[in-house]
């Protein structure tokens, strides 16, 4: 049994303009100690689906199932779910400056987490614990910095503090939602290294949400690509990076700037992300797809395949990047 098993998750938000169908059937599994990368554009539903698991999307209509260690999270009483949050499942967010409370010291915020879930801990014990956590994530002089406010930390240190907090109770699963997006490129690499190291050390499962395939290129065991509230391709990391099947994944990979071939022009995925109020008919990607076939406009492609899953009507063996793969795709679609 996987640590987390999500199947058929849908999340909708009623708005004055109509129902926004943010997640339209999300399914995935995360094994203990493994890393799942979830990739997609803004608004593809990657944050909403994970926050829904934690009961953090208020006013949403949710259906489907999400089992954590066999316990169903969807529809779990709020109090029971609250006890899981922070202790068993921790979250790290995008902007550490706005995610830490500006009026409390970093130490106070870690101590709070510890004492919410371990009420028997004294303040002094929790403080010592918080200092150890800060030391663990590489904050210099942690016994002094524990009393600093978030604004006295640098961006990278703030994210380290968030990681320290997330790891404090040794959760089984960490959901990191764009943890490096707000950081400088050099700091980004340090934070990713730190997360990878600590994940191995504590054998924590990790869901890494990002819009940047480069961020999870070294970390993820498995990668799930989301489009318009649905997973459209799921595969082991190497398989997905070298033999992508879905034209959207191909577009994403070809739009990643490479550090070696600096001469090449970037190829963005053309078009706009679809409206979640009125998603396109058939395959949601068809209005932007260079290989669109008549079938794509009418029939929704399910996730097909064995290990390497893809929701695209092109034959499953048409995979890969580059001109040769593009030629084969054009051939198959015409």
């Amino acid at each position: 049994m996987a640590l987390l098993e999500v199947s058929g998750l849908t999340v909708s938000f009623p708005t004055p303009d109509g129902v926004v169908r943010a997640v339209r059937g999300m399914s995935f599994e995360v094994e203990r100690g493994r890393t799942l990368g979830i990739v997609g554009e803004s608004g593809s539903g990657k944050s909403v689906s994970t926050q829904t698991l934690m009961g953090l999307t208020r006013g949403a209509e949710v259906s489907g199932s999400a089992r954590f260690e066999g316990r169903e999270l969807i529809g779990m009483p709020a109090e029971e779910l609250r006890r899981l949050r922070g202790a068993q499942i921790a979250m790290i967010f995008q902007d550490p400056l706005s995610s830490l409370h500006p009026l409390y010291t970093v130490g106070w915020q870690i101590v709070e987490l510890i004492r919410i879930h371990e009420p028997a801990t004294t303040k002094a014990q929790a403080r010592k614990w918080a200092i150890e956590q800060l030391a663990l994530v590489g904050i210099p002089q942690p016994d002094r910095r524990v009393d600093d406010y978030p604004h006295q930390f640098s961006g990278g240190m703030r994210q380290r503090a968030m990681i320290a907090m997330a790891l404090a109770l040794q959760p089984k699963l960490i959901i990191a939602d764009e943890p490096t997006t707000a950081l400088d490129a050099t700091v980004q690499a340090q934070i990713l290294d730190l997360m990878a190291r600590l994940q191995r050390e504590f054998d924590t499962a990790l869901i890494m949400i990002t819009h940047d395939l480069g961020v999870i290129a070294d970390m993820a065991d498995q990668v799930l690509v989301m489009y318009a509230g649905k997973p459209i391709e799921v595969a082991e990391r190497r398989e997905l990076y070298y033999r992508p099947h879905h034209p959207y994944t191909v577009g994403l990979l070809e739009s990643v700037p490479s550090t070696t071939g600096a001469k090449e022009r970037l190829k963005p995925v053309p078009g706009q992300p679809p409206s979640l109020l009125r998603p396109p008919s058939g395959c949601a990607f068809h209005p932007r797809c260079p290989y669109v076939m008549p079938k794509c406009r009418t029939d929704v492609p399910p996730l097909m395949g064995e290990e390497h899953l893809s929701a695209c009507w092109l034959p499953l063996d048409v995979v890969g990047l580059g001109p040769e793969a593009a030629r084969r795709r054009t051939e198959e679609s015409s």
Partner: protein, 317 residues
């Protein structure tokens, strides 16, 4: 911090000097005859007017008058009332306790009601409770103070006479606690109703902003119970603008709560001012105006210092 306070106090002194000078100019800059004529009444003979000008030193040059005005002011001497011939400071000291007690009591009420109401409607926006609060707030803001006050007086005297609540001048709580309460409760409620309405709005808005912040999501993701999220994380951050407004309001109100005091005949600073204006009692008007500005200046300094305690990101320098 100390440097900040010293600078702000010096700045405040300049503001007060400007206020004093403006008030001085307003009343003394015109021809001396006008001032004396106003004091003596329209039908007084010229001799009386000359005599008044003499006694008041209005025959001296404006600079001489200004110098002696400022000199006296520095010694805390605000002059002598034209009408009652008592020192202005004495008149002010007599009126001050009523206003102080009125503002202090009402402040407790309106802060309690305003913050509670604001939090309740922010936690469940667009709920029945929120809508009800909004209607009450609108009513509180729209209702003129004197209408509410007179309604309360009417009800107290003719419908609920057994309560003993009545309008009347301020009584010291040290002399007669029961009498003090009977006189003060109505003005407290009356002033608090209007203020509470403003504070419900302010708290609700500030709280709604705060509850949408990322750090509130973090608090929930940590597994903090909802009460804790609302109060320790939400309200704590939402209070900063409320406290700022509170300081400014206290400063303004201490300068005289004119309408409320008048409706209930409380004999506070506001009423003293009204009376002085009616009789053209210039020294009292000047004294009250300077005192009112002093309250506002001090309140602003206190707010700024309080701000640095409320928000660690604010450094005073």
């Amino acid at each position: 911090m100390t440097r900040f306070i010293i600078r702000r106090v010096l700045f405040g002194v300049i503001v007060l000097w400007l206020v004093a000078t403006t008030v001085f100019l307003l009343f003394f800059a015109g021809p001396a005859d006008n001032v004396a004529r106003r004091l003596a009444g329209p039908r007084a003979p010229m001799e009386v007017i000359e005599q008044i000008k003499d006694t008041l030193g209005l025959n001296r040059s404006m600079w001489e008058q200004y110098a002696s005005f400022l000199g006296n002011l520095l010694h805390g001497d605000l002059g002598i009332s034209f009408i009652s011939q008592t020192p202005v400071t004495t008149l002010i000291m007599q009126s001050l306790p009523g206003t102080l007690w009125l503002v202090a009591g009402a402040a407790v009420l309106w802060m309690a009601a305003g913050i509670t109401g604001g939090v309740i409607s922010a936690v469940r926006p667009r709920s029945v409770l929120d809508r009800t609060t909004t209607v009450l707030v609108l009513a509180g803001i729209s209702l003129p103070t004197f209408v509410l006050g007179m309604l309360m007086v009417y009800l107290a005297l003719s419908v609920f006479p057994w309560t003993g609540l009545q309008p009347g001048p301020y009584i010291s709580p040290l002399l007669d606690l029961k009498g003090f309460l009977q006189v003060m409760i109505m003005p407290w409620v009356c002033l608090a109703v209007v203020q509470a309405a403003v504070y419900v709005r302010l708290t609700r808005g500030s709280m709604l902003d705060t509850l949408g912040e990322d750090y509130i999501r973090t608090a929930r993701a940590k597994g903090a119970p909802e009460r804790r999220v609302t109060y320790r994380h939400g309200l704590r951050a939402a209070l900063t603008p409320v406290v700022t407004q509170f300081g400014v309001d206290i400063g303004t109100l201490l300068g005289g709560v004119v309408v409320t005091e008048s409706v209930f005949g409380l004999q506070g600073l506001g009423q003293l001012m009204i009376r002085s204006v009616r009789y053209g009692d210039l020294p009292v008007i000047i004294g009250a105006a300077i005192l009112a500005s002093a309250f506002i200046v001090v309140a602003n300094i206190v707010v700024d210092v309080a701000y640095s305690f409320l928000d660690p990101r604010v450094r005073l320098a």
